[in-house]
């Protein structure tokens, strides 16, 4: 259970342009927060900043009131936009890379049974089966790879789940199933979720709270119900038309 306090966060690209400006959000522990916005609005940067992968130029992020420390990464479950899987490694190897097990077990592939069971349950819940375990990640379809990345981000029971467009490569039915699993896992772990999405409908269906970004700034922050009455910012309207 970790709550995340983002205060006046600003992040600059290498070129000096602002990727995020003055973002202030307080995510209570256990909240499922969806982030909407057009491409380039700063969704990925916000998630990367929450994962302590990019340095803030202004403001700060506190986890349970403290700055990021060495113990924080082990409590994060990250689903990168590009999946970040090792294509030449098997699905089992990819998922178990993050599990809380002794190094020698990862070297030998002799994974402990409780961890095998957890990984198997996650993969099965995402519609993958035993035959996928030994397959190389690069032999899977984009949608299957994305689901392996989801399972990998959950296998070590994280307290913070940062999902960067976790259903971008999935069909509508699989998208719903995947987000449902993400939400249910997060609930049972008590994990705080920050999940960027492209589909407002999915955000309404699964999120407790919706944040909308435009050009690096928060333009909407409220419950799914409140989103209905909100006028979409110009760029989002263009995309919708």
């Amino acid at each position: 259970m970790i709550d995340i306090g983002i205060a006046g966060l600003g992040v600059r690209h290498a070129g000096g342009d602002a990727a995020l400006a003055d973002v202030t959000l307080h995510l209570p522990a256990g909240q499922f927060c969806a982030v909407l916005g057009a491409s380039g609005a700063g969704k990925s940067t916000l998630l990367r900043a929450a994962a302590a992968l990019v340095d803030a130029s202004e403001g700060r992020i506190l986890y349970d009131g403290r700055a990021a420390d060495r113990a924080l990464p082990r409590r994060i479950g990250l689903i990168p936009q590009d999946f970040g899987l090792c294509g030449r490694a098997s699905v089992a190897q990819n998922v178990m890379a993050v599990a809380d097990i002794a190094s020698w077990r990862r070297f030998t592939g002799l994974y402990p049974h409780p961890d095998r069971d957890r990984a198997a349950r996650l993969l099965a819940g995402l519609g993958l089966d035993e035959t996928h375990l030994g397959r190389r990640a690069d032999s899977l379809s984009g949608g299957q790879q994305q689901r392996v990345a989801v399972a990998r981000a959950l296998v070590h029971r994280p307290a913070i789940i940062l999902a960067d467009e976790p259903v971008a490569s999935l069909d509508p039915a699989t998208s719903e199933a995947t987000l449902a699993l993400l939400r249910d896992e997060a609930r049972s772990l008590g994990a705080t979720v920050l999940c960027s999405l492209h589909q407002p409908a999915l955000a309404r269906q699964f999120a407790d709270r919706i944040v909308m970004l435009d050009a690096g700034r928060v333009v909407f922050d409220g419950t799914p119900a409140a989103l209905d009455g909100h006028a979409a910012p110009p760029r989002v309207r263009v995309v919708a038309r």
Binding site: P73, I76, L78, G84, R88, A89, A97, R106
Partner: protein, 331 residues
């Protein structure tokens, strides 16, 4: 309809590229002078003309002609005097072997009559038609064994060097610098020189050869493994690091599977190279086919030298086929 689109397209050949090209040409012209490329072309051209009968004579053609001509016919058989073979049993000859009896007329002074008398002396020779070939094969096997163990030692030393020497997984930049320097030092000492020192330390034979090859190619593999690791796709590494996964696990889980084909190709090339260098370091007494090669060369037995050179060539060719199959299997 087809209005021109006013885009500026990036040029491939710009002023900088032309300047670089000119610089490279100048460098080649200058260094070419120093290593006598012009004279090399002139002498080689003369040799070609001489072979075609268009020039009187050529230093190169004469020089190569005499030595290379002596390499053939290559030596296949061996011939040993039976009386010099310990425990020789004529009932159990190896296949294809036969005994040749040579009668020689010897004129001796009879001490009693004080007269010169002719006598017939019979010497038996064991002739094995493929005896020398078998000998070369045995020596070649020794070289292969030396190369195999040299390569194994190189992998065992080179891999830790690479793990410390790769920027993305080294525990500390100072260790990276130290490891890179160690690799460079090991590469900088040529096998032949290392073998000379090691022969003094360990005596003649394969130990010096194994160590000389192992140490030199450890520097080789330490560098190439580390370069491969640094060039691996950073995205999975970042994903795992963001979730607090340790360096060793990052290496095992996402880097090693990615770079394994390159590592295997490098290792196979190192083995190939160690077989060839194993033949060279035999020259200083570090065992294997090189020792045989040096001995025959010094005794002007160029037929034997020819056999050895062809044997080395065939082994390298075979290794190449095996290596390309292995690379395909591991792709």
């Amino acid at each position: 309809m087809n209005a021109a689109v006013p885009w500026r397209w990036p040029a491939l050949l710009d002023a900088r590229a032309v300047a670089l090209l000119l610089g490279a040409l100048l460098l080649l012209w200058y260094t070419g002078q120093r290593v006598e490329i012009g004279r090399m072309l002139a002498l080689s051209g003369e040799a070609v003309l001489a072979e075609a009968g268009l020039a009187e004579r050529s230093q190169v053609a004469d020089g190569l002609g005499t030595t290379l001509g002596q390499l053939v016919p290559i030596q296949l058989s061996s011939r040993r005097e039976v009386s010099r073979i310990a425990g020789f049993d004529p009932a159990h000859l190896s296949p294809f072997a036969h005994i040749e009896t040579v009668e020689t007329r010897v004129s001796e002074l009879d001490p009693e009559t004080l007269r010169r008398e002719d006598r017939i002396v019979r010497t038996a020779w064991l002739v094995e038609p493929f005896g020398y070939l078998a000998h070369v094969a045995a020596k070649m096997l020794e070289t292969l064994e030396i190369a195999l163990w040299g390569t194994l030692i190189a992998v065992l030393i080179g891999l830790p060097l690479a793990l410390f020497g790769a920027r993305n997984i080294t525990p500390h930049p100072a260790l990276r610098a130290g490891s890179r320097a160690t690799s460079a030092f090991l590469r900088a000492v040529p096998e032949l020189i290392a073998a000379l020192f090691l022969v003094i330390a360990y005596g003649f034979g394969p130990i010096a050869g194994v160590l000389a090859l192992g140490l030199h190619s450890a520097g080789f593999l330490g560098k190439f493994y580390a370069d491969d690791i640094e060039d691996a796709d950073p995205r999975p590494q970042q994903a795992l690091a963001a979730m607090g996964v340790g360096r060793l696990t990052v290496w095992r889980s996402t880097i090693l599977p990615q770079v394994l084909p390159q590592h295997i190709a490098c290792t196979l090339y190192t083995f190939d190279r160690n077989v060839r260098m194993g033949a060279v370091i035999g020259l200083v007494g570090a065992g294997g086919i090189g020792q045989e090669l040096k001995g025959r060369f010094d005794m002007y037995e160029y037929g034997h030298v020819g056999t050895i050179l062809i044997a080395i060539f065939l082994i390298i060719l075979t290794l190449d086929l095996v290596a390309s199959r292995a690379r395909r299997a591991w792709r």
